[in-house]
Symmetry: C2
Subunit: 202 residues, 2 copies
């Protein structure tokens, strides 16, 4: 794609994300997106075909792809449980502050009113958490009874519920504090009993 | 209120709840409620003043008052953590199966589109959980570092996120299984270390 066309696509996507995050899907028109971006409505239809198309692009760009949010996720020098916790803070911050991520979350919540199948972000999040827990288990860093897949599934859903309800009830500024309360409540269950398990060769 | 007027109110509320749960707030009109209940639109306006009024009544009736859902909550013969866990299963079942509770949850999720301040159900839920945790702490049945209020807040939000996301992603039938996974992940963090703490006089 030409550089200029790319810049147009990006500015449309960011204008749409701001509007979806502020006003929701039903409250945002293609004309609003055109006015906010300073581009024509024709540009919206040319690049994204429809309002559904640009909503889908917003969800795919950030919300459905959290593993791109952070480089810490892939750093093998950091213990996997620590990476998982770090990643959760990165996501929580993005959900509180980044307009494209916020728009993705709001569109997902409003998916019943959107005439297009939105990607399920939680499958990807859960797969990433499962890999980290499996790695931690192999290294003896979580209790042997912690099964990676169901644990990851429960963690991701509880985490997302905690972040969205905290923001709804108390505002975005308290999300990281509440996330700390939640990890304090959750991490002890993951830890191996002292002396109960040592990594192979330990 | 006369018996007949009470029956009319109830049938309007239940018809409205079914419709809100199925079609959402915006997708339901006073005419729909009248048609589903077999009463006149005039009856809706007479008993609830407006569509907002009947939505508010639906939220208040069940979703915002979970402590009425169960008698087990008050049974002092049962250990408080066990009552908390039992209560969570009662709520999860109501969220999956009871139309008035389901409607309350959906209306709460759609509160941005409703022109009336809906009661926050989570304050009451959190107060109930705080009381149970405080009782458990006094009895030495949770670890001494478990602070009842922040723990209750995190538990309630994580619990509700888990239930709503599980239903959205997998359907209502799997909610109790996922709730069991989540409690297995959470309860060990609440428990006192073996021999670390005994109730007064123990």
């Amino acid at each position: 794609m030409q550089k200029r066309a790319k810049a147009t696509r990006r500015s449309l996507l960011e204008a749409a994300a701001q509007l979806f995050a502020e006003q929701g899907y039903a409250g945002t028109s293609v004309n609003d997106i055109s006015a906010r971006s300073g581009r024509t409505s024709g540009a919206v239809y040319f690049h994204y075909a429809s309002k559904e198309g640009i909503a889908l692009a917003v969800v795919r760009d950030r919300f459905a792809t959290w593993s791109q949010l952070t480089t810490a996720y892939a750093d093998r020098a950091v213990p996997p449980v620590e990476r998982l916790v770090g990643l959760s803070y990165d996501i929580a911050r993005a959900l509180a502050e980044d307009p494209v991520t916020r728009a993705g979350a709001r569109l997902w919540a409003e998916r019943a009113t959107i005439d297009a199948p939105l990607p399920d972000p939680f499958a990807l999040w859960t797969a990433a958490a499962t890999r980290l827990l499996a790695e931690a288990r192999l290294a003896g860093q979580v209790a042997p009874h912690v099964r990676p897949a169901p644990t990851a599934r429960a963690l991701v859903r509880a985490f997302f519920g905690l972040c969205s309800l905290t923001e709804a009830l108390e505002g975005a500024a308290t999300v990281t504090d509440r996330l700390t309360d939640w990890w304090q409540l959750t991490l002890p269950s993951l830890r191996p009993a002292p002396g109960a398990h040592r990594p192979a060769g330990g």
